[in-house]
Every structure is written in structure tokens, then in C-alpha cells.
Symmetry: C2
Subunit: 110 residues, 2 copies
DNA sequence: CTGTATCCTTGGGGATACTG
DNA sequence: CAGTATCCCCAAGGATACAG
């Protein structure tokens, strides 16, 4: 993404906020993150119920992207019927922690 | 926006992250926030230069929304040629502070 | 149960020109 | 200088059906 144009700045250490925004940019990603934090190791169907309104297609693609970004881990148990569990990676946990002040700011709004 | 479906939760205190995401949801908003934090009291044209790539239309509409959300203050000096200065409100400053851990998380990514 | 495959819609954002 | 006014576009999401 774009970065700031910082006249007279050291140049070489971006603000980093843009990087984070790309990762959590999807419409439901922070909600998924939050859900996985409060209810660890959820299955696909459980997540769908935890995040009301999301469609299967979008949940699936969001999970894929979050997995690719290294914040979500997907574990598939080869059973019938199929069982898949999603959880946060270490980086995902840290991201969630980093999100907490922002959540607090949101809560303080009337 | 949507909120989490939290079975067996106290119900009545949402996670708050969704609220914050709505406020910083625009494509360039965090960058504007950051710019206004590092270079307080900027004029329209200066902001345009600080956030390279943004168009006048989008900068204007983003600023309007951020003003409506109470995180940016717009002061117009009735002069010719016109002069307008944008700055962060108290709430905007607190939002920026709340964004810092997220920025740090982004910076730590390789 | 855990997803694809299709098709369709929308609005956020881009380009450009113009105005007080 | 500080913005509107238009027009346009496309990718992110939604709806629904189907599959292993």
C-alpha cells in the first residue's frame, strides 16, 4: 500500500500501520480474529455461527487469506464427516493484543 | 456494523473493534491520521502532498467523514486566497495513540 | 460438515475538468 | 488555494446452488 511522504524524515522506517491495515482489511477479519481469540479452536460451522451475517464463501476466502498472512492456522483432521479446526498463530495472538487499545477506544465512544 | 455472536456472554458490551474499524475504514484514513499526528495543523494542499497518490476528491471526502466522526478539526480562516487548517481533535489523538501498537505490529513483520 | 462454483450487485474510490 | 462536479470502473462481497 501507500506510505507516508515524510519530508526530512530518516526514510527507511515506514509507519507500519499500512501493513497492519492490509492484513485486517477484509470486512469481517477483525471479527474472526476476535472470535478465535475468545473461542479458540473453532470449526468452520462454529465460526459461521459466531460471526452472524457472513456467508460461507466469504468466511472461507477470509480464512484463506488470514492463513496466508500467517495469523490463522488451519488443521484438518482426516475424518468422515470432515472436521477442520481454526486457531490463531502466535503472530495472530500478537495482532489481537495489538488490536486491544483500538477496541478500548471504540468502547469508550458513547 | 456487525458484532459478534457471543453465546453465554454478558451481552451488552460489544468488542468495540468494529466501531473503531468503521471510523478508520476509508482507504487513506490512517495515513491522514498519521500525517496529522506527525505534522500537526496542515493545510489541504500540504496533506495532499503528505499522502501521495490520494486525489483531491477522496482527500476532501475522507476529511469530511473524519470531521463528522469527531477525530479531525477543520478551521477555515476567512482570507483571500482561502486558508484552511486541519488538525486532530483530542479523540483523534487518542485514536492515534490506540493505533500505535498496531503500527508496531506492522513494523515487526519482516 | 466443509467447503467450491457461479453469477450478480454495489459503492468506494480513481480521473479529469471546473469554480469561488 | 481549496475544494465541487461528473463520469466511470472494478474488485470485494452477497445469494444461491452444488460437491466430496
Amino acid at each position: 500500500m501507500a506510505t507516508l511522504n515524510r519530508p526530512g524524515a530518516p526514510e527507511g522506517h515506514a509507519c507500519g500501520i499500512d501493513t497492519a491495515m492490509e492484513v485486517i482489511g477484509g470486512k469481517w477479519k477483525v471479527l474472526i480474529l476476535w472470535a478465535l481469540h475468545e473461542y479458540p479452536h473453532r470449526r468452520f460451522g462454529e465460526l459461521r455461527r459466531l460471526v452472524p451475517g457472513i456467508t460461507e464463501k466469504v468466511l472461507a476466502s477470509h480464512l484463506r487469506e488470514m492463513e496466508a498472512d500467517g495469523i490463522v492456522r488451519r488443521v484438518s483432521y482426516e475424518e468422515v464427516p470432515p472436521r477442520v479446526e481454526y486457531s490463531l498463530t502466535e503472530d495472530g495472538q500478537r495482532l489481537n493484543t495489538a488490536l486491544e487499545p483500538l477496541a478500548a477506544w471504540g468502547r469508550e465512544r458513547a
